[in-house]
């Protein structure tokens, strides 16, 4: 290995630097110290408490989260003086069990907490199923933790310990938590001393396991375990030293360029292989990958076998390996493995020794043999089957999956195909002779093989052979063959049939596999296109939920942050909501950016599994999935598919958020622009009349002597007119303010249209002095439901507007009539009309101000106010140009109130 080292490895390795940085970054997170022992009874808890006492003397805020004294007096004495966190009673199967109270610990926030027995399994219903997960959360919260661990509980040593002691420990902790530990202290005791302590009763032994444990504490076992513990600790220490050296580019004896590949199959021993690979990788300090190759046989696996593969792959991920599934690209699995190994520079391949029969190997070839033959310079570790203890599946019992129901139709078709071939053969035999008959049968067989796969085609082969023999090979109508040439021909025919049907069937199954992959790629592609075209957040959420639900056959909810918490924003089926308890799991996922809920390590009691949705910019939401009935939610292939879908959905959600952000910025800019235009316009509209008034009044005061009477009254008229204009403008501003603040609450009552028109004409009489006014109001017009003051203001604004845009000697017409269930009122002028481009915006607030049109007085508030008032009274207002001549026409329509009929004038007299 040393020879392989190159110059570049003398430089600090980036991974090591990163790891060190991460460790330093964890400044925010707590430090973990593990007291490791080879076996129970070596005194880990005692040692931990003593160290903690010393810390407390230094003034550190230490509390005891959970410590099992097992009634030992020395240990109990050490507990004295510590603040001990009360345990949390939890009811489980009619028993009250007390557990470590993580919430209380997080609330109390000591600087150091003691949590005994790291490998402990929590009572179902606790936040985490395992205590080490509680510890991880404590560390994440920035609390230092002291904990204890026996060597047999370490996941990767699980098999080895089971081999040594013949006792398999079910409570394990992943190796990653040891990697994470900032300090590991080995509590060592010689086997003799330990046995002595056991005899003195100083070792806690549960009653029911007394006999088993007696065997456990044999000197041989204890020596082996002690060695294991020492080696494990030494390796950790070594690793820390190495990382330190690497980070500082200190050259040292570390291995370089090693990479381990472990082949995972549905074989029950795969989990053991994975653990072996982990140990190998620890020793070689090499990265490792668990590889699963999907072949056409994978399609025929039972649910249980699939689960086993999934379990092994998950285990690999838990043990910090990489888990990869690839489809088989060649005929031989060994070739696929070698190709992958070369592509990824693997130097070691770990594979289980075959347990298959010799016959199977002769027929199908042995992967192990192939691998060894072709491995070249890659080391192949073949792990003997009996070396590994099979463990019962840890997966929850799954109802036996309904295997693909037996389909009779392919076999019927196979029989029919042979029958048809037989018929045709009988017809053509006299013409073409015996030689060509077998080709007709072969055609039928190939057809069946291509369409229905291996087994129906084999049936067809058997039937075809029998028919061929029976009907065509002399002596015909018997199954005996006399002519040796014919025997040879028959054998060749059979052989050919089998080979052809096998080939065709293999092609068919590959097509099926490919088709399934293509389908999933196609739907992923379709999904991304759908997302790209979705404009609103709702569309994106719905598309994501729907896609995940339909591709993975699960129920889906999407939760997004809102007001500091997260709430369900979409779901499929759409009516799906989640319960309060599940929402807690979703919140946990959101806050910790980690997976939680059903099938996970955190709050596994929840009905839903929650996954964080992340993008490069950070967490954006939470995805929840569930399905009816028990069993695991996802297979490993599905997990990857779900990740792909979640990523795409997350990106799309982020895109919508970004677009919204941009929109908001643009709107703010637009508002700013409008505001400044408005200020300019308002100050113009306020100052112009004021300037006129001041100027005229000043002139009257200063120049009264030199002014003639006509000029004086002209100036006075200016003062009065401009003051009135100012007054109207201020009234408009006030009205607009009222509308904006929502303070307009119409005081509606039944009113006579003509009365309000009359009042408006009276008020505008001065402005409209030069115009001709025509009023056409139907005599039997029903009363309308309006606020008289607001409605009159609308009319006033429309008339005021007309007076500005139509010349003095033209006619302004006010018309009102009944149109079915509405009353219409029009104000028409004979001006130039409204430019078509402006028609759509004429009621917009400050439209004229926005256009910077200062030619005519007024900000264009009048029309906006008119629309606001009319809409507040449940009416409509529209602007148009007159069809008959130039000029604008504004039409107000108001519904006729139901009660108005009885109030028609006729009834009043």
């Amino acid at each position: 290995m040393a020879g392989q080292r190159s110059d570049k490895e003398q430089r600090p390795s980036p991974e090591a630097l990163l790891a060190e940085m991460r460790r330093e970054e964890r400044g925010g997170s707590g430090r973990l110290k593990i007291f490791v022992g080879a076996a129970p009874g070596v005194g880990k808890t005692y040692e931990m408490l003593q160290t903690a006492r010393a810390k407390r003397k230094e003034g550190v805020d230490v509390i005891v989260g959970v410590v099992e004294t097992h009634g030992r007096k020395e240990t109990e004495a050490l507990l004295e003086g510590f603040e001990v966190l009360p345990r949390k009673p939890t009811i489980y199967v009619n028993r009250i069990l007390s557990e470590f109270d993580i919430d209380a610990a997080l609330k109390r926030r000591p600087s150091l907490i003691l949590v005994d027995e790291l490998a402990h399994t929590n009572v179902p219903g606790s936040r985490h199923p395992k205590r080490y997960l509680d510890v991880e959360e404590l560390l994440q919260a920035g609390i230092d933790v002291y904990t204890t661990l026996n060597i047999q509980h370490i996941e990767s040593l699980n098999d080895v310990v089971a081999q040594i002691t013949h006792v398999r420990v079910r409570e394990t902790v992943p190796d990653s938590i040891l990697d994470r530990a900032d300090a590991i202290e080995l509590v060592d005791l010689t086997p003799d001393d330990l046995i002595q302590r056991l005899k003195e009763g100083k070792v806690y032994v549960p009653k029911q396991a007394e006999r088993a444990l007696k065997n456990y504490f044999s000197p041989a076992n204890l020596t082996a375990l002690r060695e294991l513990a020492l080696r494990q600790t030494a390796e950790r220490v070594d690793e820390q030293l190495l990382e330190h050296m690497r980070a500082r580019a200190i050259s040292g004896p570390w291995a370089a360029g090693e990479r381990i590949l472990v082949c995972v199959s549905e074989d029950p021993r795969s989990a053991g292989l994975v653990r072996y690979a982990k140990r190998l990788s620890d020793r070689l300090r090499a990265p490792w990958t668990a590889l699963c190759i999907e072949t056409r046989r994978s399609l025929q696996l039972t649910e249980k076998e699939r689960d086993r593969i999934a379990e092994a792959m998950r285990l690999a991920e838990r043990l910090d390996g990489e888990a990869i599934t690839i489809p088989s690209a060649t005929r031989r699995i060994a070739d696929d493995v070698i190709a992958f190994a070369h592509a990824n520079n693997a130097t070691h391949i770990v594979i289980g020794k075959s347990t298959r029969s010799r016959w199977f190997e002769i027929l199908h070839g042995s992967v192990v043999h192939d691998l060894v033959r072709r491995a070249g310079n890659i080391s192949v570790h073949v792990i003997a089957g009996d070396e590994l203890v099979s463990e019962p599946s840890t997966a929850k019992d799954v109802a036996p999956a309904a295997s693909r129901p037996f389909d009779l139709i392919p076999y019927i078709v196979a029989v029919l195909a042979v029958a048809v071939a037989l018929g045709i053969s009988l017809l053509v035999q006299p013409v073409f002779g015996l030689e060509n008959v077998d080709l007709i049968f072969l055609t039928a067989i190939v057809g069946v093989a291509v369409r229905y796969g291996l087994w129906p085609s084999l049936l067809a082969t058997v039937l075809a052979s029998l028919s061929y023999n029976f009907f065509f090979l002399p002596p015909i109508y018997t199954f005996t063959i006399t002519d040796p040439t014919n025997i040879a021909a028959f054998l060749v025919f059979m052989l050919l049939s089998i080979v052809v049907s096998n080939l065709a069937a293999r092609g068919q199954s590959q097509v099926a596999t490919t088709r399934e992959r293509v389908r999933s790629v196609e739907s992923l592609y379709a999904f991304s296109r759908k997302l790209a075209s979705a404009g609103t957040l709702d569309d994106v959420l719905w598309a994501t939920a729907h896609q995940i639900a339909s591709m993975l056959k699960v129920r889906v909810v999407l939760l997004l942050p809102e007001d500091g918490t997260i709430t369900v924003k979409a779901g499929y089926p759409p009516e799906d909501t989640i319960e309060e308890a599940d929402l807690a799991a979703a919140k946990w996922t959101w806050e910790n950016n980690r997976i939680a809920g059903r099938d996970s390590d955190t709050l596994p009691g929840a009905k839903w599994l929650f996954l964080p949705m992340r993008t490069g910019r950070g967490a954006i939401g939470v995805l929840g999935i569930t399905k009816d009935g028990p069993g695991p939610l996802l297979r490993p292939g599905h997990r990857r598919l779900l990740d792909a879908l979640t990523d795409q959905g997350g990106l799309a959600i982020e895109r919508v958020h970004l677009v919204e952000d941009i929109d908001r910025v643009r709107r703010t800019a637009e508002t700013e622009r409008l505001r400044s235009a408005l200020l300019t316009s308002i100050s113009h509209d306020l100052r112009t009349p004021l300037a006129a008034v001041l100027g005229a009044a000043g002139a009257l005061r200063d120049l009264s002597k030199s002014l003639d009477q006509a000029s004086k009254s002209d100036l006075l008229a200016t003062i009065i007119d401009e003051s009135e204009r100012l007054n109207r403008f201020i009234a408009n501003l006030l009205d607009m303010t009222k509308l904006e603040s929502g303070a307009v609450s119409p005081n509606v009552a039944l009113h006579d249209v003509s009365e309000i028109v009359g009042s408006a004409l009276e008020r505008t009489s001065k402005i409209l002095g030069k115009h001709r006014i025509e009023v056409e109001i139907n005599a039997d017009l029903p009363m309308i439901m309006v606020d008289a003051v607001l409605f009159e203001q609308v009319l006033f604004n429309l008339l005021d507007n007309a007076s500005k845009y139509a010349a003095g000697d033209t006619t302004i017409t006010v018309r009102s009539w009944r149109d079915r269930e509405t009353v219409c009122l029009q104000v028409m002028d004979e001006g130039e009309g409204i430019p078509p481009a402006d028609l759509a915006h004429i009621f917009d607030k400050f439209y004229r101000a926005r256009k910077g049109d200062q030619v005519r007085a007024g900000t264009g508030l009048g029309l906006a106010i008119s629309r606001g008032f009319i809409e507040a009274m449940h009416g409509q207002i529209a602007a148009a140009n007159r069809p008959d001549r130039s000029g604008a026409v504004f039409t107000i329509t108001l519904p006729i109130p139901k009660t108005t009929e009885k109030l028609l004038p006729a009834t009043a007299s």
Binding site: L750, L761, V775, A788, V789, P905
Partner: protein, 230 residues
Amino acid sequence: MNTTPAPKILVVDDEPPIRKLLRMGLSSQGYDVLEASDGKGAIELLAKKPALVILDLGLPDIDGHDLLRRIRHRQEALPIIVLSSRGDEAGKVAALDLGADDYVTKPFGMDELFARIRAAMRHQLQEHGERPLFQVGDLRVDLVRRIVKVGDKEVRLSPKEYDLLRLLVQHAGKVLTHRFLIQELWNEPADPQYLRVYVRQLRRKIEADPERPQYIMTELGVGYRLRAPD
């Protein structure tokens, strides 16, 4: 005018420019002007026996409506004209209900104010006896013989229409609230829309152009006012 002392008008307004304007305007019409800038001063000046009060509703020390009530309490027959702002129809109606005789909306023209003052004063004088014959423009109403004529043509009115016109004539130039008219015509609360129906009918009979009335003026949101004889 030489023999009788000039009528006194009390102006209650906290804005000096408005008081100044009113003082100048009213003096030019031969009135004596008393000025108060708040409610306290107004109450004190009542002792000087003003003939009419012009009262701004927004005062610094006391709510305008409260002051109105207190003045009315002391001097039942004293005509009061309220200064109010546009859009405060409810405030106007409340003031009229509390006994104000009329109102002027700010900003106002002097001629408008003088007309209101004349109408209020005339009405006070009329309290003692109705003038039998009323004429404004072409409209003539003989209250004794109950004859209504527009020009030379006699107009036939229903009893309710006549009652409505009589009420308006009796208070010509003054605004009459919907409530007052309804109370007088029906002696019980009724929907204002009945009143509007009668006003429309009456206008059709006496106005040349009902859409642009010359006699019965609409005070939107408040009531009606018959034009006073010039």
